[in-house]
Symmetry: C2
Subunit: 248 residues, 2 copies
């Protein structure tokens, strides 16, 4: 029997807002389980509640599941994802340094990524998030689309799912525009995969707060910018960013 | 007595995750109340838990409150905000059409914006969110900074505050870089103001889900993409986006 979702409210919450914000991990391994329509509706509804400049709402979502075009699009995405990861693995030297030691964070990340791209075609749901441009691109245009991507991932978490935002469509952009009829002015801002986590959400690893939060001027530490008890730090990730903050 | 925040956990949740995502409004009117350090810490901590590509964490936050440079920066921001809004008011024709009728959504939005920029210098907290570039800008770079901006706004909501993300620093960018010692490679991605809402959070107005969520290809509606009962729609905002979705 078809549910009439227009009469059905969104699911009740089981996770708190702050708790969800600080413990939503990038989920790249999924059980085979599908996402029911009612949950997908709630996830997309929450995504569309994100703000955009002047409430212009330039974001469009193409959900790819079982349809004929979806299947073809997912094959293109899988191929592209594998190419992107191959380049990244080499460019960011995932197999060098600690990446050559089994069990290191870098080695584990490389294994997760390899597994992710190799099983791309069987991910439960893929969503292309498109940004409909109304003017020439400016560096801040992402402010109108990526808050919605984050809402989408957080809403998935709220309902017991997980996902990750990628740019893995990079090598397939032109073909995806053609195949799915995406107009030229719609930029594919991200590809998000979603499913039931094979692992778990939980605390994420980040740089210590003191290194990234300043008060009154660039680089100026401030006594209140300290991590709470139990915060998990990381030294992973490619070089060039938080490990070393430049001065003006 | 100074609190030792490093021993203090984050505040407990009072709002659910999905509930927070769908009912966090842009808050532009604040009571004069300050935001205590412990709450500011929690808000920034949640912001930094957002994902970024390869966990590079390129985001830096400059919190502007009462310090001498903060005050000067806020004056620059206030002036810039008033110039930006003046241009927007004219460019987006806020005083034409329904904007000339008292009580219309457009008229009310114009009043809110005018009030916001006129009182900019007395906003409780201003945060410049900077994106530290490690390569030449690409259109998707915002995917590494705007999810953190959204987390920041949602965390503020979780703690009873509210805020709004703006590009109102636009006319003061060079002066802010100079005054605050922001390195050239750090792009000011947004200016976020925060405070205790003079109004309330609650359901936000958006386009009907059916117009922005597609399945299998661009523009293709799907039976499950329907708003839940009570969803609030809008016809406000400048022309050019959701009202009219182009075909390929």
């Amino acid at each position: 029997m078809l549910e009439d979702l227009s009469q059905q409210p969104l699911p009740a919450d089981t996770v708190g807002l702050l708790e969800g914000l600080i413990s939503t991990r990038a989920i790249r391994r999924y059980t085979g389980e599908d996402i029911p329509d009612a949950d997908l509706r709630a996830i997309l509804f929450a995504a569309t509640r994100a703000p955009s400049g002047s409430n212009r709402q330039p974001t469009r979502y193409i959900v790819l599941r079982h349809g004929p075009k979806a299947q073809a699009a997912r094959r293109l995405l899988g191929e592209s994802a594998r190419r992107v990861w191959l380049g990244k693995r080499e460019g960011d030297q995932y197999d060098k340094g600690s990446g050559s030691r089994s069990g290191s964070p870098k080695t584990r990340m490389a294994a997760t990524m390899t597994n992710y791209v190799e099983h791309y075609e069987s991910v439960p749901v893929v969503i292309l998030v498109c940004h409909l441009r109304y003017r020439q691109p400016v560096p801040s245009e992402g402010g109108n689309v990526y808050p919605a991507c984050q809402n989408l991932l957080l809403a998935a978490r709220a309902l017991g799912y997980g996902g990750v935002m990628t740019g893995f469509h990079g090598f397939a952009e032109a073909e995806l525009h053609e195949l799915l009829g995406i107009p030229e002015q719609a930029f594919i801002a991200s590809t998000i995969t979603l499913g039931r986590p094979a692992g778990h959400h939980g605390p994420v690893r980040r740089a210590p707060l003191a290194g990234v939060v300043y008060e009154d001027e660039w680089g100026a530490s401030t006594p209140w910018a300290v991590d709470p008890p139990g915060a998990r730090h990381t030294s992973a990730g490619p070089p060039g960013t938080w490990q070393k903050t430049p001065e003006a």
